[in-house]
Structure formats: structure tokens, C-alpha cells
Symmetry: C2
Subunit: 161 residues, 2 copies
DNA sequence: CCCCAAATTGATATGTTATAACATTCAATC
DNA sequence: GATTGAATGTTATAACATATCAATTTGGGG
């Protein structure tokens, strides 16, 4: 499903199954899935939208989980490090991974209007950049592949655009 | 030349010819290539490295071209709008376009150590993202394609990494 | 030539995103 | 029950970007 996020799906189970896989991953790798980290992932999972660190912080703070920026950034560091979340560089915002556990090089379709994000697994996409890289001895550590645009729902809302 | 920036080349003419093309473009499109804008492009062209807006501002300010952040951001807005420069989202930094006038969808190889950037013209890269987009009715307005890693020069300097 | 409108610049303040630094708590290990 | 490393709490600040409004320039009509 390359475009989860733009289609209807069983979102409750989408959340719960991802959380389960995250828990399992933490057990397997001796990572501590602490309350702040878990809650942060839950919040991200609740939407297929990118949220800013300070948006997250506001929600965490309402729940008494911390008020200072490092709270949010530490949780996001953990989640992105573990592969549970990704940063959308084009928005300076964060989103839960839609392919948790699949060891992937993600690519994103990002709606600049509603911030909905679809995560496509295009590991093969590395190919073209990879060719240029290999030709010069450049060692790729991470790829940022994002298409910014207007999602189907927003196109319908304002087709004139 | 997909990897300009990692190879030796006639940099003086690389700068001057690009400036000429920029001037011509401005004349043709009735854009004002004011001193600040021109000098900002010159500074960016002098390196095949990404520079932060405040790095640029510091240099402009030394030359009496303005001291407040909007000076740099206005110049960068103009240059990116005209296609003379690109923003590297993964670094929050800016670089002169290496394919000025070619109407391209750029992709970058970004060295996270020395900030050298090679601009590859991979318009075809849109293809794969484009497929996923077309399949769902997503309208791409802009693509962000960046490979972060270590450039050949930096690899040699610290091969152990 | 003078006036107007639009674009550009100057200047101040503020908003937004992210990290440094250091003290404290906590839980596992020895 | 001391040691130790990870996680948190807290304060402050760094780094990136924009809003706003006044002043100036510039290029056409009148
Ligand atoms: Zn993912
Ligand atoms: Zn949308
Ligand atoms: Zn370019
Ligand atoms: Zn390098």
C-alpha cells in the first residue's frame, strides 16, 4: 500500500498493531519504551499527518508528561533512531512510520495544505541517486525523498487551484 | 556532469558564466538583479557548498549590504524563485544552482561533514514518486531529493569512519 | 516635470525550530 | 547498598525564519 494516509483503512487496528510491533522491537533490542516515548508515538500514529515538535510538546504537556522542548526532541530522537518515526525535512515536522519493522528507505507524498503524509516504500529509488553517488565515491548514509504537493482530498476541496 | 562540486573544474569561468546567464535571464524576464541579490549569488557561486542564511548575512554585512535577517532571506527568496539557487532542506542551507536555465528538478548529494553539495539533474527521478502520486491523484508541485552522506574527499581524510 | 504606484530596502521586533549544559532521578548490576 | 549508565527535569540559548511598517527608489502616465 504505497499511499496509506490517502485511503480509508482500519485506523484503530493500524494504530494498535503498530504499537505492538514497536513494543516487540524494543523488547528484542533492549530499548526502553518509556511513557513519554510511547505516548509520543501514539499521538503521531493517531494521525497520518506531520506534527511539529512544539505541537507534540503541547499535547504531552497537557497530559503532564513534560513542558520543556527537550522532552519532545528526546522522544522524537528515540523514535526516529528506532525507526518508529520519520522527520519530514520539507516541513520540519514528524510522522509515525507506516512500514515499521520493514527496514526501508522511505519516500513521502506530503500535502502542503493539510499536512497529510503518505509514506511510500521506494527502496529502489536509491538507485538513481545511488548511481551518481557510486560514480564518485560518495557514501550515502540517508536519503531524503519528499514530494510536496496537494493531496486528492484537498484538490477536490479547491479544484480551481 | 552529475557531480559538479566533487571534481576539479575551471571554477572562475564556472562562476562568471553562471552570473552571465543569470543576468541574461533577469533581462529577459524583467527581474531586477540588484546589488544585494547579485552579490548573494556570487557568494554562493564561490563555493560548491551550502551556506546558511546567517552565514550569508554575515558576509553581506561585512560589505555593508545589510545587517538584518530579512536582507539575506529576501535575497534568497529572489534567487530561489528565479531558479538561481536551491535550498537544501536537510541542512537548512542554500546553494547556487549548477544547472542554471535548464528547467530541472534537482537532486543533491550532500556531504554532511564539509557541506559540499553536488547537484545532479535527475528529472527522471520524479518518475517513481510520480507513479505513486498519479495512482492517487496527488499533484506534485516540488520534489525534495537529497542524499546525505560523506563525499570522496572526506572519506579519504577519515577512512576509518 | 510631477505625481503615482509598485518594488525594493531599512529597521525593529517577534515567531519558530532545535540544542547545550548541568542537576536529578531511576533502575540494573556488582 | 555502592556504582554506573540511561532517562528526565530545568534553564538558558542557539539557529532558522517571518511579520510589520516606514523610507526610498524606480519607472511610467498625466
Ligand atoms: Zn517508515
Ligand atoms: Zn491535503
Ligand atoms: Zn539547479
Ligand atoms: Zn565532505
Amino acid at each position: 500500500m504505497p499511499t496509506l494516509g490517502f485511503h480509508k483503512h482500519d485506523h484503530a487496528s493500524c494504530i494498535s498493531s503498530t504499537l505492538e510491533r514497536a513494543e516487540a522491537h524494543c523488547v528484542a533490542h533492549n530499548l526502553k519504551f518509556t511513557p513519554v516515548r510511547k505516548r509520543t508515538l501514539e499521538i503521531l500514529l493517531a494521525e497520518h499527518r506531520a506534527l511539529g515538535a512544539y505541537d507534540l510538546l503541547a499535547m504531552l504537556s497537557e497530559e503532564g508528561l513534560g513542558t520543556a522542548p527537550p522532552v519532545a526532541y528526546r522522544a522524537l530522537d528515540f523514535l526516529t533512531g528506532a525507526g518508529f518515526a520519520h522527520k519530514i525535512e520539507g516541513l520540519n515536522a514528524y510522522i509515525a512510520c507506516a512500514h515499521l519493522g520493514e527496514d526501508h528507505a522511505p519516500a513521502f507524498l506530503v500535502c502542503t495544505r493539510c499536512k497529510t503524509v503518505a509514506e511510500a516504500d521506494t527502496a529502489a529509488d536509491k538507485g538513481r541517486l545511488g548511481q551518481a553517488a557510486a560514480a564518485t565515491g560518495f557514501q550515502i548514509e540517508k536519503t531524503v525523498i519528499e514530494a510536496m504537493g496537494i493531496c486528492p482530498a484537498c484538490v477536490e476541496d479547491a479544484p480551481c487551484a
